[in-house]
C-alpha cells in the first residue's frame, strides 16, 4: 500500500494542480487586477486555456507517437546482424543531433513548412526521435550475453528472440527515452507559439510582446503544471515497465 500509495500521489498532485489551474485561472481576473492594476485585460481570453492545453497535449502526443515508431524502428533495424554496420552512423546521428538545440530545429523547420503547427510538429518529431533511438540502441546493446545465448539454446528464432528477450529487457531504457522525448517536446511546443502554433506558449509569447506580465504568468504556470503531469504519468509507466518485466 505504501509504495503504491506514494506512487499514485506522485502522479496525482501535478495533474490535480493542472486541473485546479484550468478551473481557477479564468476566474482569477480580480486577483490579477489587484496584483497588476495597470493592465486593462488581466486574464488571457483569446483562446480558452482548456483548448490551448488540449492542443498542446495533442501536438506533443502525436509527435511522441511518431518519434516512438521511427526511433524504435530504426533502433531495431540498426541492431540486427544483417544491418549492424549501420549502427555507428545511426549512433552518430543520435548523439550529434542531440547537441542541436531544440530552438534551432524549430527555426530550421519554419522555412521548409511556413508558419503554424506544421513546422512545430516536424521539429518535435525530428528532435523527439533522437532520445528514443539512442535509448533503444543502448537498451538492446546492453541485453546480457547469457540471456541471448539462452534464447539461442532454446531454439528461439530471430523474431521471437527480439520480441520475447531483447525488447522486454530493453523496455526500461526505451521508456526512459520516450519520457525524455515527451518532456523536451512539451518545452519545444511552447516555443512553437513564436512561429504560430496554438499551444500554451501563446499567452507567454503574447504577454512578452505586449508587456502583459499577467498573461506570461498564466501561461507559464499552466505549462509547468502540464510538463510535470506528463512527466509524472510517464515516470509511473516507466517504473511499471521496469518492475513488471525485468
Amino acid at each position: 500500500m505504501t509504495i503504491a500509495g506514494r506512487g499514485a500521489w506522485r502522479i496525482a498532485w501535478p495533474c490535480l494542480a493542472l486541473a485546479l489551474l484550468l478551473i481557477a485561472l479564468p476566474r482569477m481576473g480580480p486577483v490579477f487586477h489587484a496584483w497588476m492594476p495597470e493592465l486593462r485585460a488581466p486574464v488571457y481570453t483569446r483562446t480558452s486555456f482548456v483548448a490551448l492545453t488540449a492542443a498542446h497535449i495533442g501536438l506533443v502526443g502525436m509527435a511522441t507517437l511518431i518519434a516512438v515508431v521511427l526511433g524504435l524502428g530504426i533502433g531495431i533495424l540498426a541492431t540486427r546482424p544483417a544491418t549492424r554496420s549501420l549502427l555507428p552512423t545511426v549512433r552518430a546521428v543520435a548523439v550529434i543531433g542531440q547537441t542541436f538545440p531544440p530552438v534551432a530545429v524549430l527555426a530550421i523547420a519554419v522555412p521548409l513548412l511556413g508558419f503554424g503547427a506544421a513546422p512545430t510538429l516536424l521539429a518535435l518529431c525530428l528532435y523527439g526521435v533522437l532520445p528514443v533511438l539512442g535509448q533503444t540502441v543502448a537498451g538492446i546493446e546492453n541485453v546480457s550475453r547469457p540471456a541471448l545465448d539462452a534464447a539461442d539454446g532454446m531454439g528461439y528464432g530471430r523474431w521471437r528472440k527480439l520480441w520475447e528477450v531483447e525488447l522486454p529487457l530493453a523496455a526500461g531504457p526505451i521508456m526512459a527515452g520516450v519520457r525524455l522525448s515527451a518532456i523536451v517536446s512539451v518545452g519545444t511546443a511552447t516555443i512553437g507559439s513564436a512561429v504560430g502554433a496554438s499551444t500554451l506558449g501563446a499567452p507567454i509569447i503574447e504577454g512578452l510582446v505586449s508587456n502583459n506580465t499577467a498573461y506570461v504568468v498564466q501561461g507559464a504556470l499552466l505549462v509547468a503544471a502540464l510538463a510535470m503531469s506528463i512527466d509524472a504519468v510517464l515516470a509511473w509507466i516507466e517504473r511499471y515497465v521496469r518492475r513488471g518485466l525485468v
Binding site: 552512423t89 547537441t99 538545440p101 511552447t190 506580465t213 507559464a220 504556470l221
Partner: protein
C-alpha cells in the same frame, strides 16, 4: 543484398543521390524577405560541377558493392566541393541577375548532401588512427577557412547577411558566450558544495536531487517567464539592484533559470564522482594524517574531476541551446537573430543565428571531449 555490401556507403550515397536529383540546390530570391524559386543541381551555372557531384554519388553507390572499404575520398571531395560549387554558382547567378537585391540561398538538397558527406567521412574515419582523423578533419577545416578567406562563399545569402550584420553578430555572440559562462560559473559555485552535501548526507541528497529534477521538467521559457514577476518586484523595491541592471526581463532571469537547470547535472555528477573515489584511497590519506579538507582537495577532488567534466559537457551544450530561448525575454544572444528573423520572415537571419548556435554547441562538445581524453590519458 549480399552480406558483403558496404551498407553505410550504400545508404548515404543513395540519400545523396536522391537529394541531388530531387532536391533544391540553390534558391534565387528577389530580396531577403521574399521566398525564392528553386534551382536543381544541374541548373546551377558551372553545369560540369553538378554532373561531377552526381557522378561521385553514383560512384559511391557502385563502390558499396566492392569488398574493400572505399569512399573516404568521395566524402572529402563532396564535403569541401559542395559549398565551393554553391559559392561559384551563386557568383555566376548574381552576375546575371537583373536586380541587385537578389539573394542566393542554399536549398534543402545542398544541406542533405552535405550532411550525408559529413556522416560518410565520420564513418570512414572510424577505426583510423587518431593522428589520421585529426589530420583529415584539420585539412577540411583549413580548406574551408582558405576558401572563405579568398571570398569563395561571399555571394551566398548567408554570408552576405553576416557581412551586413557583422557588428551585431559579434555582440550577440559575445553575450551568448557570457551568459553561458556565467551560468556555468554560478552552477559550479552552488552545485559543487550541494553535491558534496548530497554525498555526505544521503537523505538530504535525495531531497536535493528530487527538487532539481522537478525543476528540470519545467520548460525553459516557462521558468524564464515565472522569474520575471518576482525579479521585477525585487527591482522595484530595491533600487540598488536595479542600478546593477537587475530587472524583470534581461540577463538576470536568464542566468538564474539556466543555473537552476544546470544544477541537476552538476550535483549528480559531483555525487557520482565522489562515489567513485575508492574508500581505501581516502582512508590511506586520513591515515597519513591529512585533515578532511586536505583529503578533499588532494585526493577526492583530483579523482572525482573527470566524472564532473563529463557532466559539464552536458551542462554547457544544454546551456548554449537554452540561452537561445532567453532571447525571448530580452537577454540578447544569438537567439535574437532566430526570433527576429522568424518575425520578419528573413530566412537568412534565422539560419545565421541557428547555424552559429549549432556550431557553438558542437564546439563546446568537442572541447570537453578533448579535455576528457586528456585527463583520461594522464590518469
Amino acid at each position: 543484398m549480399s552480406t558483403r555490401t558496404d551498407l553505410p556507403l550504400a545508404l548515404l550515397s543513395a540519400v545523396g543521390l536522391l537529394a541531388a536529383t530531387t532536391g533544391t540546390f540553390l534558391e534565387v530570391a528577389p530580396n531577403r524577405l521574399l521566398s525564392g524559386s528553386a534551382l536543381a543541381l544541374w541548373h546551377v551555372p558551372p553545369a560540369m560541377g553538378g554532373w561531377v557531384v552526381l557522378a561521385l554519388w553514383c560512384w559511391g553507390l557502385a563502390c558499396s558493392l566492392l569488398a574493400t572499404k572505399r569512399g573516404l575520398s568521395i566524402a572529402c571531395a563532396l564535403l569541401v566541393g559542395l559549398p565551393l560549387l554553391a559559392g561559384a554558382g551563386a557568383h555566376r547567378l548574381l552576375a546575371d541577375a537583373a536586380v541587385h537585391t537578389t539573394r542566393i540561398q542554399l536549398g534543402a538538397g545542398f544541406w542533405i548532401m552535405w550532411l550525408a558527406a559529413a556522416l560518410l567521412l565520420l564513418d570512414r574515419l572510424r577505426g583510423a588512427r587518431r593522428v589520421v582523423q585529426l589530420a583529415i578533419w584539420t585539412g577540411v577545416v583549413v580548406a574551408f577557412v582558405v576558401a572563405g578567406w579568398s571570398g569563395a562563399f561571399a555571394d551566398l545569402a548567408l554570408v552576405r547577411e553576416y557581412a551586413a550584420q557583422r557588428d551585431v553578430f559579434a555582440t550577440a555572440l559575445r553575450i551568448h558566450l557570457l551568459l553561458t559562462l556565467g551560468t556555468l560559473g554560478l552552477a559550479l559555485a552552488i552545485g559543487l558544495p550541494l553535491g558534496w552535501i548530497a554525498w555526505r548526507r544521503r537523505r538530504a541528497g535525495n531531497g536535493i536531487l528530487g527538487v532539481l529534477s522537478l525543476v528540470q521538467t519545467v520548460p525553459s521559457i516557462a521558468l524564464f517567464a515565472l522569474l520575471i514577476g518576482p525579479l521585477a518586484w525585487l527591482a522595484q523595491h530595491m533600487p540598488s539592484l536595479q542600478a546593477l541592471g537587475f530587472g524583470g526581463t534581461g540577463a538576470a532571469p536568464a542566468v538564474i533559470a539556466l543555473c537552476l537547470y544546470a544544477l541537476l547535472p552538476v550535483v549528480r555528477y559531483t555525487l557520482a564522482g565522489l562515489d567513485g573515489v575508492p574508500r581505501d584511497a581516502v582512508e590511506a590519506a586520513r591515515g597519513m594524517g591529512m585533515t578532511r579538507w586536505q583529503v578533499l582537495a588532494r585526493v577526492q577532488w583530483p579523482l572525482a574531476w573527470p566524472v564532473l567534466l563529463a557532466g559539464l559537457r552536458i551542462v554547457s551544450v544544454q546551456a548554449i541551446g537554452m540561452v537561445a530561448v532567453a532571447a525571448l525575454i530580452g537577454a540578447g544572444g544569438l537567439g535574437r537573430f532566430v526570433f527576429l528573423g522568424v518575425g520578419q520572415g528573413a530566412i537568412d537571419m534565422v539560419l545565421l543565428g541557428t547555424l552559429a548556435i549549432i556550431a557553438l554547441a558542437l564546439l563546446a562538445d568537442l572541447v570537453f571531449q578533448a579535455a576528457l581524453m586528456l585527463t583520461e590519458r594522464r590518469g
